[in-house]
Symmetry: D2
Subunit: 342 residues, 4 copies
């Protein structure tokens, strides 16, 4: 059994992680923490877990976590980096669901996140936890930077094209849409049902934190920098990301369907749909699957449609996938749910 701790378990990513871990046959949840809610029952925050657990929050302290084999951080950006050095020193491996270790260029990270980094030396060591790219490195990692929700969808959708040099890397467009859980559980006026239901809007059209993360990943796949326009939007639903990706094809002869099917043939959690498909976010609600469809509206252009659950393949599910890799388990263990439709 893997003994795990979850730091920051009152938020959506943390709660989703616990839903998955409670059913994971190889995991023992040793401790869950929440600054400010120590003593409260997990089920007070997640009533769906009634009858499943009597876990209570404790204060996030290195001592408690250091006994675990693995600590997950589902905390606001800037929190994990304060505790990770001590945990690694104590032999506890770490998966950070936040952004602290995602961007290799610490200066860029500081610009976008408005913080000075507490342990820049660990940023280099951290493995970017996208298994479809970094599987081998993840297996051996002490510290995994779990990807952001948008970056997971956008990278998976562009990767086959970018890796093969099939699109103009100076003019990529990612029009992305997310359900409201992507904004977190902290109440704000712009997350109230009364303000966002029956409406639709973009945000961050002039710049969003996930842009450098996406560009870093695509640049690594391409072997050169890429230029991407990325605009996120808020869908008035709870969960789900839909990314619509646009590119100019450099090779108008390539069989795009075959390219995608081959690239993801051995991937348990990427579903390349049949030609002409339009994936729906509801088909991945609550599960660790990313579905992709590729279209060519005219010979010179490609449109890729990608869906995922922002809290599962975009956060907690991918974290469990990474844990499975890190501890030598089959990648699918604990991730076999079927989405509920309707």
């Amino acid at each position: 059994m893997i003994s795990v701790g979850v730091v920051g378990a009152t938020g959506y990513a943390g709660g989703e992680l616990l839903r998955l871990l409670l059913r994971h046959p190889r995991v023992e949840i040793a401790t869950i923490t929440s600054r400010g809610h120590a003593g409260a029952a997990l089920t007070d925050w997640f009533p769906n877990l009634r009858g499943e657990t009597d876990l209570r929050f404790s204060e996030p302290q290195v001592e408690n976590l250091a006994d675990c084999d693995l600590a997950f951080f589902a905390t606001p950006n800037g929190t994990a980096m304060q505790m990770v050095p001590q945990l690694l020193a104590a032999g506890t491996r770490v998966i950070d669901l936040g952004a602290d270790f995602r961007i290799k260029d610490v200066k860029v990270w500081s610009q976008w996140y408005g913080l000075e980094h507490a342990c820049p030396e660990l940023v280099e060591e951290a493995v970017y936890g996208l298994p479809e790219v970094n599987r081998q490195a993840i297996r051996a990692a002490r510290l995994v930077a779990n990807p952001g929700c948008y970056p997971t969808a956008v990278q998976l959708g562009f990767l086959p094209l970018v890796e093969q040099g099939l699109v103009d890397l100076d003019h990529l467009v990612a029009d992305a849409k997310s359900g409201a859980s992507g904004a977190g559980r902290q109440p704000k006026q712009n997350t109230m049902l009364t303000e966002v239901a029956e409406s639709f809007r973009a945000y961050g059209a002039s710049g969003h934190r996930h842009l450098p993360e996406i560009q870093q990943g695509l640049a690594r796949a391409a072997g050169r920098p890429v230029e991407l326009t990325f605009v996120p939007h808020l869908i008035p639903i709870i969960r789900g990301i839909h990314a619509t990706l646009y590119g100019r094809l450099l090779d108008s002869e390539v069989d795009l369907q075959a390219l995608y099917e081959k690239r993801f043939r051995d991937e348990a959690f990427v579903d390349v749909m049949p030609p002409g498909s339009h994936p729906e976010t509801r088909t991945v609600r609550g599960i660790n699957v990313c579905r992709i469809a590729v279209h060519r509206p005219d010979p010179g252009r490609v449109v890729v449609l990608v869906v995922e659950d922002n809290l599962v393949k975009g956060a907690a599910g991918q974290a469990v996938q990474n844990m499975n890799l890190m501890f030598g388990l089959n990648e699918r263990v604990g991730l076999a749910d079927i989405a509920v439709i309707p």
Copy 2:
């Protein structure tokens, strides 16, 4: 008073038109028709109109409509073209909310709509009813082709750039999203709440009927053909279109905000929002306004955000605006509602 008839008034565009016309101070509704529902009360189909009217549907017959000054067609594509020649001959002017007269190239029209055109000679005469482009011609028109919902939003958003030659016309992208009322009132499995709520998806990624209409309008503005990738999506809300437009700037010095403000300065129904804005579809719900915000995420690229109500500025409201022009009224008459928030 303008005596009007509305053909096809059981659908959403027709019902919305009647809501507006019932409050229009210069309009007298002479007849409303519905094939198959003659005799039924309008309020059976639109319970919001209870207490406002006792209109009943009659069969759509040229004789009844020929007494009107103006006939609106809110009918399935292919219906209006069967009756319009006789009505024009009888001196009744026509606004078609359908697509029969929108595409000047009748061959292209037939390809996309799968019908042979019944009166190609009238296609040339028809005026495309986008007042922000064709105001003078609309005033004099006998026959107005009211624009499609997506084409209204996408054209208004791109026009300032395209008219001034500021963007690369070979690589335009329009990622558009619409509420479910855009799919009409005919029940289908994919318009059921149980199938579309709490989900998001694209449709028509390989081609959509509104593409040639948009390209025709932008080409006219540009004086040359344009290449556009257009992907529509379904938002699980009732009303509202959000178009996110992407272009490569040819002139990185231009003041985009000033360009848009100047272009639409005298337009009653186009609201250019302050720099940095993200318009919300709810702010135009039920009203004839198109709101636009322009962003430049980096020097070489432009992102334009456009919202409208697909049934108002995208259909019935624009039809009333066109009627006002055709009959010498102030364009704003009957179109002064304020959107309801929250």
Copy 3:
């Protein structure tokens, strides 16, 4: 022109009031106030009002309001009672959309609202602003206590039965459901879209503040106390109240449909629907109408279905209706909108 001030205009009732007042032909908005947001533009809080007004908030001060003919309070409970005595002394009439003056028994009020009353002597003078009951008194009132949202729906639905002594007054049941705007605009976890969408729940099943208000009104109509079980529920929509009322009929011969039609025959804002109807909240969205249908599932029992918009007939619209009465206008002025469907 009536010169009005609106106190507390950043909330939903206040914003809705301003939407209505901006179109009211006999009103001049002299001042709007918001503690803590003085200087901000009204349109920052209500983007639907862009282009309609350049009003800005000022601090709520008696001096400014004392110049108005009428002050509306759309403030948290306990605020109006601090300023009303001075305003009345200055000759400014008042409509309080909050609960400060609704309950005649000040002790009962204090128990439910947890406050000591600042001006109990004015509670007696205040006229309960339900025009269908108190029309004459409202015309002459200096101070009107605008009814709560649930109390408006439940009283209107029960009144014909209670006034005529047709139901067992010891066993009334009101099962009421409200959209989320009834919870106000203050962000809390339980008003987030992510927490309330795609779900349904009751609240206050053991007791709710609107119970004594309803019982007071029904008791006055009955001439004796009534016993009511009242359970409110949260519908995951923005606006709308649906009250389902249950009673035991004492007279199994009465023609319920005729009773309701006669009771509300002269009421502009109460629509008694045809037998067998099931009113929908969407038909009253944004308008000042209450629709009622009466059913008799078996000879001894009655079920009354009532819908209203909680922010209009349940708050701001009724306040305008009361203003019209107080200032000798036709009750319908400024309240002629048609609901938007779909």
Copy 4:
């Protein structure tokens, strides 16, 4: 392994049943049928099952089903009774998710369902499949009538009171609300998102088919007839039933919380919540749990709040629970999912 067939698997109850059966460790799905869609892949109708199964529909024929140990009918009312006699004769046991065998009084059944019964002799044999009442009989049954969605919630909520004679059986009220999946998958205007979203309404206020089923069950528990007013409502969500039950207490001293906890202490799928709770439908989305909270707003009255997923504990999940009983398995097998929140 239990070999099962599912008749009518294109609808919501059938699809949900297959989602559960595909993960059930003791079940082998031998055949799925759909009149009119033979040959189609199950995943065309339920895209959430992509990658889980390659089942295709066959025509519903007794021969195929007669090889199964168990046949589930998830068909329109009136279908199962045509095939059940032959299947039972062939030794295949049956669970009917429809209403054909629920009402013991065949005349009453015919009145409400508008059909003549094809095998009234089997109605008497059929066991009503509410395990919390009929567990022993279900174990031995050849034919189980799976309860309706509303009847499951209303009966479970009233049972402790009715069994103990604690409420006035002549004046029960059940105000019930259901998500739109309760209306089935056949497209109709009143199930379109555009018609039901952002709205709320009752239906069947003068009488609903589930009333006699509920009354039959409660009468059996009480040992005498009961009088119930039952009004269903449509919530604009996909799944979930909330029943709010009202009763007059005959004994004002009884400890209601203890009563409910004791009654359901050994029930795996009934969760009696702590005092003061308000259960949310989202907490049972996709799972076979019924949560109940009991309130006493004043000494003489009781309010019971009940939630379930209409497609799980109200249909397919309860059917699996019944299957487990019929085949000697632990009742919980295959029913251990956790609801997804948010």
